[in-house]
Symmetry: C2
Subunit: 326 residues, 2 copies
């Protein structure tokens, strides 16, 4: 089924027909109008997914629709911000009704789960890509930046890192997975793929952390690179320990598993710092939000990020990363 631009807009409009707090004028005019409650600041992120760069040609439309919103939700989570309104620009080579329907359904499901309203956008003919701008808010002054960490702060990581990159490798048909045929192995491969295709950003936990985190970033480019960004912005260094690598330790040799952790990226977990005395509060919030959290290191005066694993110094080689990248 081929759709006109008007029909494509209608597909999205049907998914977002309800009322939503703060929405004054939604899809259908030259621009959207929304109201921010008094005492709050606007927090805005933009991210694009392009076929061939961020997802494989032929990737499931539902995965693309889910991820393009999830990556933006994760950016807001890393600021400690609640998400409110999104715009979507969708570029598609031909108006394939089934593709658009699956994309819109997955986008709307995730939006609904996080209280996000689609308020506008653009539908254009072009190579397959999607761009979302997500607007949210924080009580004035309560956003969490990358640059507030201090020497002595503990460094934490939510969830597991490296799984999404393993999933990306599985989906691109890398031969090293050809021997993983047992039911258990297949189940683990599906877990990796799920993490890549349908990541769940840590929004509620990010919002909760704004009372305790001194600095925060989301792990989109890999733990080593993103933690390095945070440390540079905060003008400090850190000593960190590679945590247990979970499923990765079963399916890969140690060097590859560690590289996936260091450099894999696209996990959309939160990496954050908090004063040592706040450790009980961090663990309480983690338990309250049912988010696994690992203390992976400590910020120190100076610069640089040094890692150890099982007491031995280790460093990202970039090899597994290169290996898995196309």
């Amino acid at each position: 089924m081929s759709l006109s631009e008007t029909s494509i807009i209608d597909v999205f409009r049907r998914h977002f027909a309800g009322e939503r707090s703060g929405l004054v004028l939604g899809i259908g005019d030259d621009a959207a109008v929304t109201s921010l409650p008094a005492g709050r600041q606007l927090v805005t992120a933009t991210d694009s997914l392009v076929e061939g760069t961020h997802f494989l040609p032929g990737a499931a439309a539902a995965s693309v629709g889910h991820r393009v919103l999830a990556v933006n939700l994760s950016d807001l989570a890393a600021m400690g911000a609640e998400a409110h309104w999104a715009t979507l620009s969708l570029s598609i080579p031909n108006a394939d009704g089934e593709w658009v329907g699956q994309f819109a359904k997955a986008f709307a499901q995730l939006a609904d789960e996080f209280g996000v309203m689609l308020v506008g956008g653009d539908t254009v003919r072009g190579p397959l890509s999607a761009t979302v701008t997500l607007m949210g808010s924080v009580p004035t002054g309560q956003f969490v930046t990358r640059n507030g960490a201090c020497a002595g702060d503990d460094i934490y990581l939510s969830g597991a890192a490296g799984y999404a990159a393993a999933g990306r490798a599985v989906l691109s048909g890398k031969t090293q997975f050809d021997n993983m045929q047992s039911e258990e192995q297949q189940s683990r491969l599906r877990t990796y793929c799920q993490r890549f295709e349908y990541p769940l950003p840590r929004v509620a936990f990010g919002v909760a952390l704004r009372t305790v985190a001194t600095a925060m970033i989301d792990v989109s480019d890999g733990v080593h690179i993103d933690l390095s960004h945070l440390l540079t912005a905060s003008n400090i260094g850190a000593h960190a320990t590679v945590p247990e690598l979970g499923l990765l330790a079963t399916d890969f040799d140690n060097d590859t598993a560690r590289e996936l952790f260091f450099c894999g990226g696209e996990d959309y977990e939160l990496c954050f710092c908090a004063p040592a005395e706040s450790a009980p509060e961090v663990l309480r919030l983690a338990a309250e939000h049912a988010v696994p959290v690992t203390r992976i290191g400590k910020a120190v005066a100076g610069s640089g990020l040094s890692w150890n694993q099982d007491g031995r110094p280790v460093a990202p080689a970039g090899s597994a990363f290169e290996h898995f990248q196309d």
Copy 2:
């Protein structure tokens, strides 16, 4: 010169290094933070330009950088909104430093002219395209929609429509321009191209009109289609007159000139309605903002949009439009 993603971001950051009212945290963290003054509502538009669809392969980078912001400024103008903050997602096949530099310079020049701050974005490898989300504001409740026009309202159009489509045709090398060799003809062709490549949105005039306009839309898809959208949204009809067609009447036969006016699009002029008794105020605002304005018709009860030219009924044939489209 080839640029890394970090260098590309730095190119934009240099252009937007200053302070700006309402900017709390700009480029460089997971998201931007901005403050909207009390008593104002947020107005948001998103538009994309894709190579091969919205601009010709090989189009000047400066034109693409200018237009992707201009089209969004025009959307905000049509709401009567002041523009404040933009995000930019830029997809480029290779990091060509000169291309990015020219794009950024033109984008920043137009942003500066309209008081817009670039607060964030994304730079990705992919087919050439750019998406801007532009955020602005209006005093609470004072935005102008498409749906407020009443029977009896006058219908106005700013500037001249059809020139941009003529410019697009010139730039795509249509053969009908081969005989236009005189200096005067060449000068007119440059005027058309300028209107297509570097449109100047009517932002200040749009803001001024919010005290008097009952409905407003920007002419991006052509006068006939966009005015029809406004009438449908307002649940009324209209009788309208094709105005003097200016330069188009010199360079094209009457049917072609009229089709360019009806269906050309991409002029980014404002089409708006106002009560008959407000005519002196509309003309006063037009003079104050040095914007040429023509009263082109009258809203009537019912539905449908009928046109006349020199007393004869005429209708869009879509032929010139098709003729000029690739």
